[in-house]
Protein backbone atom coordinates (compact mmCIF):
# COMPACT_ATOMS: atom_id res chain seq x y z
CA UNK A 1 0.00 0.00 0.00
CA UNK A 2 2.73 2.37 1.02
CA UNK A 3 4.64 1.52 -2.15
CA UNK A 4 1.66 2.32 -4.32
CA UNK A 5 1.16 5.68 -2.62
CA UNK A 6 4.84 6.53 -3.00
CA UNK A 7 4.62 5.58 -6.68
CA UNK A 8 1.62 7.85 -7.14
CA UNK A 9 3.46 10.75 -5.60
CA UNK A 10 6.50 10.49 -7.77
CA UNK A 11 4.94 9.75 -11.13
CA UNK A 12 2.54 12.40 -12.44
CA UNK A 13 1.13 10.02 -15.05
CA UNK A 14 0.32 7.36 -12.48
CA UNK A 15 -1.28 10.06 -10.39
CA UNK A 16 -3.43 11.18 -13.27
CA UNK A 17 -4.56 7.60 -13.85
CA UNK A 18 -5.39 7.22 -10.15
CA UNK A 19 -7.45 10.41 -10.17
CA UNK A 20 -9.18 9.20 -13.36
CA UNK A 21 -10.07 5.87 -11.72
CA UNK A 22 -11.35 7.67 -8.64
CA UNK A 23 -13.55 9.94 -10.76
CA UNK A 24 -14.85 6.96 -12.73
CA UNK A 25 -15.76 5.24 -9.46
CA UNK A 26 -17.60 8.36 -8.30
CA UNK A 27 -19.59 8.40 -11.57
CA UNK A 28 -20.31 4.66 -11.54
CA UNK A 29 -21.19 4.38 -7.84
CA UNK A 30 -24.91 5.30 -7.92
CA UNK A 31 -25.57 2.73 -10.66
CA UNK A 32 -24.45 -0.08 -8.35
CA UNK A 33 -25.43 1.15 -4.90
CA UNK A 34 -28.90 1.07 -3.37
CA UNK A 35 -30.84 4.30 -2.93
CA UNK A 36 -29.98 4.27 0.76
CA UNK A 37 -26.24 4.14 0.13
CA UNK A 38 -26.51 6.74 -2.61
CA UNK A 39 -28.08 8.99 0.00
CA UNK A 40 -25.23 8.22 2.38
CA UNK A 41 -22.84 9.23 -0.38
CA UNK A 42 -24.77 12.48 -0.86
CA UNK A 43 -24.15 13.38 2.78
CA UNK A 44 -20.54 12.31 2.39
CA UNK A 45 -20.31 14.80 -0.46
CA UNK A 46 -21.95 17.49 1.65
CA UNK A 47 -19.54 16.92 4.53
CA UNK A 48 -16.62 16.86 2.13
CA UNK A 49 -17.72 20.24 0.82
CA UNK A 50 -18.02 21.55 4.38
CA UNK A 51 -14.65 20.04 5.22
CA UNK A 52 -13.06 21.69 2.19
CA UNK A 53 -14.61 25.01 3.11
CA UNK A 54 -13.29 24.86 6.66
CA UNK A 55 -9.99 23.54 5.39
CA UNK A 56 -9.39 26.89 3.72
CA UNK A 57 -9.76 28.64 7.07
CA UNK A 58 -8.40 26.09 9.51
CA UNK A 59 -6.14 23.96 7.36
CA UNK A 60 -4.49 26.53 5.12
CA UNK A 61 -4.32 29.53 7.43
CA UNK A 62 -4.48 27.83 10.83
CA UNK A 63 -7.42 29.91 12.06
CA UNK A 64 -9.27 27.91 14.73
CA UNK A 65 -12.84 28.21 13.60
CA UNK A 66 -15.24 26.20 15.76
CA UNK A 67 -18.33 28.06 14.59
CA UNK A 68 -18.41 26.95 11.00
CA UNK A 69 -22.03 25.85 11.33
CA UNK A 70 -22.93 29.55 11.42
CA UNK A 71 -21.85 29.96 7.79
CA UNK A 72 -23.50 26.75 6.75
CA UNK A 73 -26.71 27.88 8.45
CA UNK A 74 -26.48 31.31 6.87
CA UNK A 75 -26.29 29.77 3.39
CA UNK A 76 -29.13 27.36 4.10
CA UNK A 77 -31.41 30.07 5.48
CA UNK A 78 -30.55 32.48 2.67
CA UNK A 79 -31.66 29.83 0.21
CA UNK A 80 -34.73 28.90 2.24
CA UNK A 81 -35.94 32.46 2.73
CA UNK A 82 -35.31 33.69 -0.80
CA UNK A 83 -36.83 30.56 -2.28
CA UNK A 84 -39.98 30.39 -0.17
CA UNK A 85 -40.69 34.14 -0.19
CA UNK A 86 -39.54 35.24 -3.62
CA UNK A 87 -39.62 31.98 -5.58
CA UNK A 88 -36.06 32.35 -6.75
CA UNK A 89 -34.97 28.97 -8.19
CA UNK A 90 -32.63 26.91 -6.01
CA UNK A 91 -29.79 26.65 -8.52
CA UNK A 92 -29.79 30.41 -9.07
CA UNK A 93 -29.52 30.72 -5.32
CA UNK A 94 -26.22 28.80 -5.21
CA UNK A 95 -24.10 31.82 -6.17
CA UNK A 96 -26.39 34.14 -4.24
CA UNK A 97 -26.07 32.08 -1.06
CA UNK A 98 -22.31 31.90 -1.57
CA UNK A 99 -22.02 35.66 -1.95
CA UNK A 100 -24.39 36.43 0.91
CA UNK A 101 -22.54 34.08 3.25
CA UNK A 102 -19.20 35.51 2.18
CA UNK A 103 -20.51 39.00 2.89
CA UNK A 104 -21.81 37.91 6.26
CA UNK A 105 -18.47 36.28 7.09
CA UNK A 106 -16.61 39.41 6.07
CA UNK A 107 -18.81 41.55 8.25
CA UNK A 108 -18.57 39.44 11.38
CA UNK A 109 -14.94 38.38 11.13
CA UNK A 110 -13.48 41.80 10.28
CA UNK A 111 -13.51 42.96 13.91
CA UNK A 112 -12.18 39.68 15.31
CA UNK A 113 -9.66 38.69 12.67
CA UNK A 114 -6.70 39.99 14.69
CA UNK A 115 -7.38 37.57 17.55
CA UNK A 116 -4.94 34.73 17.91
CA UNK A 117 -5.33 31.01 18.45
CA UNK A 118 -7.63 30.08 21.28
CA UNK A 119 -9.23 33.50 21.49
CA UNK A 120 -10.38 33.31 17.91
CA UNK A 121 -11.58 29.80 18.62
CA UNK A 122 -13.84 30.97 21.44
CA UNK A 123 -15.20 33.89 19.46
CA UNK A 124 -16.13 31.61 16.59
CA UNK A 125 -17.89 29.27 19.02
CA UNK A 126 -19.82 32.29 20.31
CA UNK A 127 -20.60 33.35 16.75
CA UNK A 128 -21.99 29.91 15.96
CA UNK A 129 -24.19 30.04 19.03
CA UNK A 130 -25.40 33.59 18.36
CA UNK A 131 -26.47 32.62 14.86
CA UNK A 132 -28.23 29.46 16.05
CA UNK A 133 -30.02 31.27 18.91
CA UNK A 134 -30.99 34.14 16.64
CA UNK A 135 -32.50 31.72 14.12
CA UNK A 136 -34.33 30.06 16.97
CA UNK A 137 -35.75 33.37 18.26
CA UNK A 138 -37.22 34.24 14.90
CA UNK A 139 -36.20 37.92 14.59
CA UNK A 140 -38.75 39.84 12.55
CA UNK A 141 -40.57 36.61 11.82
CA UNK A 142 -38.26 35.66 8.96
CA UNK A 143 -36.55 32.50 10.23
CA UNK A 144 -39.59 30.62 11.48
CA UNK A 145 -38.27 30.05 15.00
CA UNK A 146 -37.52 26.53 16.29
CA UNK A 147 -39.62 24.96 13.51
CA UNK A 148 -37.60 26.65 10.83
CA UNK A 149 -38.71 27.10 7.25
CA UNK A 150 -40.33 24.39 5.16
CA UNK A 151 -41.66 24.03 1.66
CA UNK A 152 -38.33 24.67 -0.06
CA UNK A 153 -38.34 23.77 -3.76
CA UNK A 154 -36.34 21.11 -5.52
CA UNK A 155 -33.59 22.37 -7.80
CA UNK A 156 -34.51 22.40 -11.51
CA UNK A 157 -32.36 22.45 -14.60
CA UNK A 158 -34.63 23.39 -17.48
CA UNK A 159 -37.35 20.76 -17.34
CA UNK A 160 -35.38 18.33 -15.15
CA UNK A 161 -36.26 18.36 -11.47
CA UNK A 162 -33.50 17.14 -9.20
CA UNK A 163 -35.36 14.84 -6.92
CA UNK A 164 -33.97 11.32 -6.61
CA UNK A 165 -30.96 10.41 -4.43
CA UNK A 166 -28.91 9.77 -7.59
CA UNK A 167 -29.66 13.22 -9.00
CA UNK A 168 -28.74 14.89 -5.74
CA UNK A 169 -25.65 12.73 -5.55
CA UNK A 170 -24.43 14.05 -8.90
CA UNK A 171 -25.29 17.63 -8.02
CA UNK A 172 -23.23 17.59 -4.84
CA UNK A 173 -20.29 15.63 -6.24
CA UNK A 174 -19.96 17.86 -9.30
CA UNK A 175 -19.62 20.80 -6.93
CA UNK A 176 -17.21 18.92 -4.66
CA UNK A 177 -14.94 18.02 -7.57
CA UNK A 178 -14.99 21.59 -8.88
CA UNK A 179 -14.14 22.97 -5.44
CA UNK A 180 -11.39 20.42 -4.85
CA UNK A 181 -9.88 21.31 -8.20
CA UNK A 182 -10.00 25.05 -7.48
CA UNK A 183 -8.54 24.61 -4.01
CA UNK A 184 -5.71 22.44 -5.26
CA UNK A 185 -4.83 25.14 -7.76
CA UNK A 186 -4.97 27.79 -5.05
CA UNK A 187 -2.65 25.73 -2.85
CA UNK A 188 0.10 25.94 -5.43
CA UNK A 189 -0.16 29.65 -6.00
CA UNK A 190 0.85 32.92 -4.44
CA UNK A 191 -2.45 32.94 -2.51
CA UNK A 192 -2.13 29.45 -1.06
CA UNK A 193 1.49 29.98 -0.10
CA UNK A 194 0.64 33.27 1.62
CA UNK A 195 -1.98 31.42 3.67
CA UNK A 196 0.59 28.81 4.65
CA UNK A 197 3.14 31.48 5.59
CA UNK A 198 0.58 32.93 7.99
CA UNK A 199 -0.14 29.51 9.47
CA UNK A 200 3.56 28.82 9.98
CA UNK A 201 4.50 32.16 11.50
CA UNK A 202 2.17 35.11 11.38
CA UNK A 203 4.70 37.78 12.27
CA UNK A 204 7.30 36.48 9.87
CA UNK A 205 4.67 36.39 7.12
CA UNK A 206 3.76 40.02 7.81
CA UNK A 207 7.45 40.95 7.69
CA UNK A 208 7.86 39.15 4.38
CA UNK A 209 5.22 41.39 2.85
CA UNK A 210 2.06 39.35 3.31
CA UNK A 211 -0.92 41.52 4.20
CA UNK A 212 -1.90 39.16 7.01
CA UNK A 213 -5.23 40.77 7.75
CA UNK A 214 -6.36 40.80 4.14
CA UNK A 215 -5.35 37.20 3.52
CA UNK A 216 -7.03 35.96 6.69
CA UNK A 217 -10.21 37.73 5.66
CA UNK A 218 -9.91 36.27 2.18
CA UNK A 219 -9.72 32.77 3.68
CA UNK A 220 -12.71 33.40 5.90
CA UNK A 221 -14.87 34.81 3.11
CA UNK A 222 -13.86 32.11 0.64
CA UNK A 223 -14.42 29.33 3.18
CA UNK A 224 -17.74 30.84 4.20
CA UNK A 225 -18.82 31.10 0.55
CA UNK A 226 -18.25 27.37 0.09
CA UNK A 227 -20.10 26.65 3.34
CA UNK A 228 -22.92 28.80 1.95
CA UNK A 229 -23.05 26.55 -1.13
CA UNK A 230 -23.21 23.52 1.16
CA UNK A 231 -26.07 25.22 3.00
CA UNK A 232 -27.93 25.73 -0.26
CA UNK A 233 -27.59 22.05 -1.21
CA UNK A 234 -28.64 20.97 2.26
CA UNK A 235 -31.77 23.15 2.17
CA UNK A 236 -32.67 21.83 -1.26
CA UNK A 237 -32.21 18.22 -0.20
CA UNK A 238 -34.08 18.46 3.09
CA UNK A 239 -36.72 20.93 1.81
CA UNK A 240 -36.78 22.24 5.37
CA UNK A 241 -34.21 24.05 7.50
CA UNK A 242 -34.34 24.47 11.25
CA UNK A 243 -31.87 25.76 13.86
CA UNK A 244 -31.26 22.34 15.39
CA UNK A 245 -29.36 21.24 12.27
CA UNK A 246 -26.65 23.81 12.92
CA UNK A 247 -25.50 23.09 16.44
CA UNK A 248 -22.05 23.34 17.96
CA UNK A 249 -21.76 19.60 17.42
CA UNK A 250 -21.90 20.15 13.66
CA UNK A 251 -19.10 22.70 13.87
CA UNK A 252 -17.09 20.17 15.87
CA UNK A 253 -17.70 17.44 13.30
CA UNK A 254 -16.43 19.61 10.46
CA UNK A 255 -13.46 20.70 12.59
CA UNK A 256 -12.65 17.05 13.18
CA UNK A 257 -12.94 16.24 9.48
CA UNK A 258 -10.12 18.67 8.76
CA UNK A 259 -7.88 17.56 11.62
CA UNK A 260 -8.49 13.85 11.14
CA UNK A 261 -7.67 14.19 7.46
CA UNK A 262 -4.69 16.49 7.84
CA UNK A 263 -4.47 20.28 7.90
CA UNK A 264 -4.47 21.78 4.44
CA UNK A 265 -4.77 18.43 2.69
CA UNK A 266 -7.52 18.11 0.08
CA UNK A 267 -7.45 14.28 -0.17
CA UNK A 268 -7.14 14.21 3.62
CA UNK A 269 -10.34 16.21 3.95
CA UNK A 270 -12.13 13.67 1.77
CA UNK A 271 -10.80 10.88 3.96
CA UNK A 272 -11.81 12.76 7.12
CA UNK A 273 -15.33 13.27 5.77
CA UNK A 274 -15.44 9.58 4.88
CA UNK A 275 -14.60 8.62 8.46
CA UNK A 276 -16.99 11.10 10.06
CA UNK A 277 -19.97 10.32 7.83
CA UNK A 278 -19.44 6.57 7.43
CA UNK A 279 -18.71 5.92 11.08
CA UNK A 280 -22.34 6.12 12.19
CA UNK A 281 -23.36 3.97 9.21
CA UNK A 282 -20.81 1.22 9.74
CA UNK A 283 -21.48 1.08 13.46
CA UNK A 284 -25.23 1.14 13.05
CA UNK A 285 -25.55 -2.33 14.62
CA UNK A 286 -24.01 -0.86 17.74
CA UNK A 287 -26.65 1.85 17.59
CA UNK A 288 -26.30 3.99 20.66
CA UNK A 289 -22.70 3.02 21.36
CA UNK A 290 -21.37 4.46 18.13
CA UNK A 291 -20.85 8.02 19.30
CA UNK A 292 -19.12 6.67 22.38
CA UNK A 293 -16.76 4.74 20.14
CA UNK A 294 -16.38 7.77 17.92
CA UNK A 295 -15.10 9.77 20.89
CA UNK A 296 -12.52 7.09 21.65
CA UNK A 297 -11.57 6.89 17.98
CA UNK A 298 -10.82 10.62 17.90
CA UNK A 299 -8.44 10.33 20.82
CA UNK A 300 -6.82 7.28 19.23
CA UNK A 301 -6.25 8.93 15.85
CA UNK A 302 -4.68 11.96 17.50
CA UNK A 303 -2.44 9.63 19.48
CA UNK A 304 -1.24 7.57 16.53
CA UNK A 305 -1.42 10.18 13.76
CA UNK A 306 -1.32 13.69 15.22
CA UNK A 307 -0.78 15.25 11.77
CA UNK A 308 -3.90 13.55 10.44
CA UNK A 309 -4.46 10.44 8.35
CA UNK A 310 -3.36 11.91 5.03
CA UNK A 311 -1.14 14.91 5.76
CA UNK A 312 -0.29 17.32 2.99
CA UNK A 313 3.02 16.73 1.36
CA UNK A 314 4.75 19.85 0.12
CA UNK A 315 5.12 20.07 -3.64
CA UNK A 316 8.57 19.83 -5.17
CA UNK A 317 8.98 22.41 -7.89
CA UNK A 318 10.62 21.73 -11.20
CA UNK A 319 13.50 24.18 -11.33
CA UNK A 320 13.11 27.12 -13.71
CA UNK A 321 16.73 28.17 -13.72
CA UNK A 322 17.65 24.64 -14.64
CA UNK A 323 20.81 22.61 -14.68
CA UNK A 324 23.41 25.37 -14.59
CA UNK A 325 22.44 26.02 -11.00
CA UNK A 326 22.42 22.35 -10.13
CA UNK A 327 26.04 22.08 -11.14
CA UNK A 328 27.15 25.15 -9.24
Amino acid sequence: MRGIIAGLRNDPRARRIAVGIALALVVAYPFFASAYWVDVAFYLGLYTLLGLSLNVILGEVGLFNLGHAAFWAFGAYTTAILNTRFDIPILALIPISALATAGFAWLVTSPIIHLRGDYLCIVTIALGEIVRLALNNDPGGITGGPNGIFGIDRPRIGGLVINTPTEFYFLVWIIVVLCAWALLRLQNSRIGRAWNYIREDELAAECMGVDVRAFKLLAFTLGAALAGVAGNLYAAKMMVVSPESFTFMESCLVFMIVLLGGMGSVPGTLLGALVVSLFPELFRPLASYRMLIFGIALVAVMYFKPAGMWPRRRATFRSVIGREAGKA
Binding site: S189, R190, R193, C207, M208, G209, R314, F317
Partner: protein, 259 residues
Protein backbone atom coordinates in the same frame (compact mmCIF):
# COMPACT_ATOMS: atom_id res chain seq x y z
CA UNK B 1 30.99 56.87 -1.26
CA UNK B 2 27.42 57.79 -1.88
CA UNK B 3 26.08 60.55 0.33
CA UNK B 4 22.33 60.17 -0.23
CA UNK B 5 20.47 59.19 2.92
CA UNK B 6 18.31 56.08 2.60
CA UNK B 7 16.91 56.06 6.12
CA UNK B 8 16.56 58.77 8.72
CA UNK B 9 15.41 58.19 12.27
CA UNK B 10 14.39 61.48 13.87
CA UNK B 11 13.76 61.83 17.58
CA UNK B 12 12.14 58.41 17.95
CA UNK B 13 10.82 57.53 21.39
CA UNK B 14 9.22 54.21 22.26
CA UNK B 15 7.87 53.42 25.70
CA UNK B 16 6.46 50.26 27.23
CA UNK B 17 4.17 50.94 30.17
CA UNK B 18 6.16 54.00 31.16
CA UNK B 19 9.49 52.29 30.62
CA UNK B 20 11.44 54.20 27.99
CA UNK B 21 13.05 51.65 25.67
CA UNK B 22 14.20 54.13 23.02
CA UNK B 23 14.62 57.79 23.85
CA UNK B 24 14.68 60.64 21.30
CA UNK B 25 16.86 58.62 18.99
CA UNK B 26 18.44 60.08 15.84
CA UNK B 27 20.24 58.11 13.19
CA UNK B 28 21.05 58.56 9.53
CA UNK B 29 21.95 55.73 7.19
CA UNK B 30 23.53 56.38 3.81
CA UNK B 31 22.86 54.38 0.69
CA UNK B 32 24.96 51.34 -0.14
CA UNK B 33 26.76 51.23 3.16
CA UNK B 34 26.86 48.82 6.01
CA UNK B 35 25.79 50.68 9.10
CA UNK B 36 25.94 48.96 12.45
CA UNK B 37 23.90 49.57 15.54
CA UNK B 38 25.63 48.20 18.59
CA UNK B 39 25.15 48.33 22.31
CA UNK B 40 25.03 46.10 25.36
CA UNK B 41 22.09 43.79 26.04
CA UNK B 42 18.89 45.63 26.79
CA UNK B 43 20.08 48.84 25.18
CA UNK B 44 16.93 49.09 23.07
CA UNK B 45 18.44 47.98 19.76
CA UNK B 46 15.79 45.44 18.91
CA UNK B 47 13.04 47.87 19.91
CA UNK B 48 14.41 50.52 17.56
CA UNK B 49 14.72 47.85 14.92
CA UNK B 50 11.07 46.94 15.38
CA UNK B 51 10.10 50.59 15.09
CA UNK B 52 11.95 50.89 11.79
CA UNK B 53 10.47 47.69 10.38
CA UNK B 54 6.97 48.74 11.35
CA UNK B 55 6.19 46.29 14.14
CA UNK B 56 6.01 49.01 16.78
CA UNK B 57 4.63 52.49 16.34
CA UNK B 58 6.79 55.05 18.14
CA UNK B 59 5.21 57.50 20.59
CA UNK B 60 7.29 60.33 19.23
CA UNK B 61 9.51 61.00 16.26
CA UNK B 62 9.65 60.02 12.64
CA UNK B 63 11.19 57.40 10.43
CA UNK B 64 11.94 58.60 6.91
CA UNK B 65 12.77 56.18 4.13
CA UNK B 66 13.98 57.65 0.82
CA UNK B 67 12.40 60.97 1.65
CA UNK B 68 9.04 59.47 2.61
CA UNK B 69 7.62 59.48 6.12
CA UNK B 70 6.99 55.81 6.92
CA UNK B 71 6.36 56.14 10.66
CA UNK B 72 3.87 53.57 11.88
CA UNK B 73 3.30 51.93 8.49
CA UNK B 74 2.67 48.22 8.70
CA UNK B 75 5.53 45.81 8.01
CA UNK B 76 4.02 44.38 4.81
CA UNK B 77 3.75 47.88 3.35
CA UNK B 78 7.37 48.60 4.19
CA UNK B 79 8.53 45.37 2.58
CA UNK B 80 6.93 46.46 -0.67
CA UNK B 81 8.71 49.81 -0.36
CA UNK B 82 12.04 48.01 0.01
CA UNK B 83 12.75 47.37 3.68
CA UNK B 84 13.34 43.72 4.59
CA UNK B 85 14.42 42.21 7.88
CA UNK B 86 15.53 39.09 9.68
CA UNK B 87 14.82 38.08 13.25
CA UNK B 88 17.14 37.70 16.19
CA UNK B 89 15.61 34.38 17.18
CA UNK B 90 15.10 33.01 13.68
CA UNK B 91 11.60 32.86 12.30
CA UNK B 92 11.51 30.70 9.22
CA UNK B 93 8.46 28.73 8.08
CA UNK B 94 9.40 25.32 9.51
CA UNK B 95 6.99 23.03 7.65
CA UNK B 96 7.53 24.51 4.20
CA UNK B 97 10.35 23.72 1.82
CA UNK B 98 13.36 26.00 1.55
CA UNK B 99 12.22 27.09 -1.89
CA UNK B 100 8.77 27.98 -0.61
CA UNK B 101 10.39 29.87 2.26
CA UNK B 102 12.42 32.01 -0.11
CA UNK B 103 9.49 32.43 -2.49
CA UNK B 104 7.70 34.26 0.32
CA UNK B 105 10.07 37.16 -0.32
CA UNK B 106 8.61 37.62 -3.79
CA UNK B 107 5.06 37.66 -2.50
CA UNK B 108 5.01 41.45 -2.32
CA UNK B 109 6.19 41.70 -5.94
CA UNK B 110 3.27 39.62 -7.18
CA UNK B 111 -0.18 40.86 -8.08
CA UNK B 112 -2.22 37.78 -9.03
CA UNK B 113 -5.31 37.06 -6.98
CA UNK B 114 -7.75 34.24 -6.34
CA UNK B 115 -9.38 33.94 -9.73
CA UNK B 116 -6.26 34.16 -11.84
CA UNK B 117 -4.68 31.55 -9.56
CA UNK B 118 -7.59 29.15 -9.96
CA UNK B 119 -7.71 29.52 -13.74
CA UNK B 120 -3.92 29.78 -14.16
CA UNK B 121 -4.04 32.70 -16.56
CA UNK B 122 -0.94 33.30 -18.69
CA UNK B 123 -0.12 36.33 -16.56
CA UNK B 124 -0.37 34.26 -13.41
CA UNK B 125 1.89 31.57 -14.86
CA UNK B 126 4.48 34.12 -15.88
CA UNK B 127 4.35 35.62 -12.43
CA UNK B 128 4.74 32.26 -10.71
CA UNK B 129 7.71 31.53 -12.91
CA UNK B 130 9.33 34.82 -11.99
CA UNK B 131 8.69 34.31 -8.27
CA UNK B 132 10.29 30.90 -8.45
CA UNK B 133 13.19 32.11 -10.52
CA UNK B 134 14.13 34.89 -8.11
CA UNK B 135 13.86 32.48 -5.20
CA UNK B 136 16.05 29.93 -6.93
CA UNK B 137 18.71 32.53 -7.71
CA UNK B 138 18.94 33.48 -4.05
CA UNK B 139 19.07 29.85 -2.95
CA UNK B 140 21.95 29.41 -5.33
CA UNK B 141 23.81 32.48 -4.12
CA UNK B 142 23.43 31.51 -0.48
CA UNK B 143 24.61 27.97 -1.14
CA UNK B 144 21.27 26.39 -0.29
CA UNK B 145 20.49 25.12 -3.77
CA UNK B 146 20.75 21.44 -2.92
CA UNK B 147 18.32 21.85 -0.04
CA UNK B 148 15.61 23.60 -2.06
CA UNK B 149 13.06 20.80 -1.66
CA UNK B 150 13.98 20.04 1.93
CA UNK B 151 11.63 21.15 4.71
CA UNK B 152 13.14 24.17 6.42
CA UNK B 153 12.92 22.62 9.87
CA UNK B 154 15.23 19.82 8.79
CA UNK B 155 18.17 22.14 8.07
CA UNK B 156 20.97 22.60 10.59
CA UNK B 157 20.87 25.88 12.50
CA UNK B 158 23.54 27.67 10.48
CA UNK B 159 21.79 26.96 7.21
CA UNK B 160 18.45 28.04 8.62
CA UNK B 161 20.04 31.37 9.46
CA UNK B 162 21.27 31.59 5.87
CA UNK B 163 17.81 30.64 4.64
CA UNK B 164 16.28 33.50 6.57
CA UNK B 165 18.78 35.85 4.95
CA UNK B 166 17.97 34.49 1.48
CA UNK B 167 14.28 34.94 2.20
CA UNK B 168 14.76 38.58 3.16
CA UNK B 169 16.89 39.21 0.08
CA UNK B 170 14.26 37.70 -2.18
CA UNK B 171 12.04 40.69 -1.41
CA UNK B 172 14.53 42.72 -3.51
CA UNK B 173 15.14 45.16 -0.66
CA UNK B 174 16.89 48.52 -0.84
CA UNK B 175 17.49 48.41 2.89
CA UNK B 176 18.12 45.17 4.73
CA UNK B 177 17.77 45.08 8.49
CA UNK B 178 19.70 42.25 10.14
CA UNK B 179 19.10 41.49 13.80
CA UNK B 180 22.16 39.71 15.19
CA UNK B 181 22.78 37.51 12.16
CA UNK B 182 25.70 35.69 13.78
CA UNK B 183 24.10 34.65 17.06
CA UNK B 184 24.41 30.95 17.67
CA UNK B 185 26.80 30.34 14.78
CA UNK B 186 30.26 28.76 15.01
CA UNK B 187 33.34 30.70 13.88
CA UNK B 188 33.40 29.31 10.37
CA UNK B 189 29.72 30.02 9.82
CA UNK B 190 30.12 33.50 11.28
CA UNK B 191 32.91 34.23 8.84
CA UNK B 192 30.88 32.95 5.89
CA UNK B 193 27.79 34.93 6.71
CA UNK B 194 29.73 38.15 7.41
CA UNK B 195 31.59 37.78 4.14
CA UNK B 196 28.29 37.36 2.36
CA UNK B 197 26.84 40.42 4.07
CA UNK B 198 29.94 42.39 3.16
CA UNK B 199 29.16 41.82 -0.51
CA UNK B 200 25.63 43.20 -0.34
CA UNK B 201 26.36 46.95 -0.85
CA UNK B 202 27.88 46.09 -4.23
CA UNK B 203 24.50 44.66 -5.22
CA UNK B 204 22.95 47.99 -4.29
CA UNK B 205 21.65 46.90 -0.92
CA UNK B 206 22.12 49.02 2.19
CA UNK B 207 22.53 47.06 5.40
CA UNK B 208 21.63 48.00 8.95
CA UNK B 209 23.28 45.49 11.20
CA UNK B 210 22.26 45.17 14.80
CA UNK B 211 24.86 43.49 16.94
CA UNK B 212 25.59 43.04 20.52
CA UNK B 213 29.11 41.83 19.96
CA UNK B 214 31.27 44.80 18.94
CA UNK B 215 34.06 42.76 17.35
CA UNK B 216 31.77 41.25 14.74
CA UNK B 217 30.93 44.59 13.14
CA UNK B 218 34.30 46.38 13.37
CA UNK B 219 35.81 45.08 10.17
CA UNK B 220 32.73 45.34 8.01
CA UNK B 221 30.93 48.56 8.93
CA UNK B 222 31.37 51.93 7.37
CA UNK B 223 29.67 53.66 10.25
CA UNK B 224 28.66 52.53 13.70
CA UNK B 225 26.03 53.91 16.04
CA UNK B 226 26.32 52.96 19.68
CA UNK B 227 23.24 52.73 21.82
CA UNK B 228 22.89 52.37 25.55
CA UNK B 229 19.83 52.67 27.79
CA UNK B 230 17.73 53.71 24.81
CA UNK B 231 19.97 56.62 23.86
CA UNK B 232 22.64 57.24 21.29
CA UNK B 233 25.99 57.57 23.05
CA UNK B 234 28.32 57.66 20.08
CA UNK B 235 28.47 57.51 16.31
CA UNK B 236 31.31 57.38 13.85
CA UNK B 237 33.73 55.22 11.91
CA UNK B 238 34.91 51.97 13.49
CA UNK B 239 38.20 53.61 14.59
CA UNK B 240 36.42 56.50 16.26
CA UNK B 241 34.09 54.15 18.05
CA UNK B 242 36.91 51.88 19.08
CA UNK B 243 38.63 54.73 20.87
CA UNK B 244 35.57 56.45 22.28
CA UNK B 245 35.73 56.46 26.07
CA UNK B 246 31.93 56.47 26.45
CA UNK B 247 31.68 53.31 24.39
CA UNK B 248 34.39 51.63 26.37
CA UNK B 249 32.59 52.55 29.55
CA UNK B 250 29.23 51.32 28.29
CA UNK B 251 30.72 47.99 27.31
CA UNK B 252 33.53 47.40 29.75
CA UNK B 253 31.99 49.25 32.64
CA UNK B 254 29.03 46.95 32.89
CA UNK B 255 28.87 44.05 30.64
CA UNK B 256 32.40 42.66 30.67
CA UNK B 257 32.47 43.12 34.41
CA UNK B 258 29.37 40.99 34.70
CA UNK B 259 30.65 38.44 32.21
Amino acid sequence: MNDAAILEVKGVTKRFKGLVAVNKFDMLIRERTIHSLIGPNGAGKTTLFNVISGIYRPEEGKVIFLGEDITGRKPHVLVAKGIARTFQNLRIFPNLTCLENVMSGQHCRGRCGTWSSIFRTPRQRAEERRIQEVAERWLERTGLWEFRNELAKNLPFGLRKMLELARALATEPKLLLLDEPTTGLNDKEKEDIMEFIGGLPEMGITVLLVEHNMNVVMGISERITVMDMGEKIAEGTPEEIYNDPRVIEAYLGREEAVA
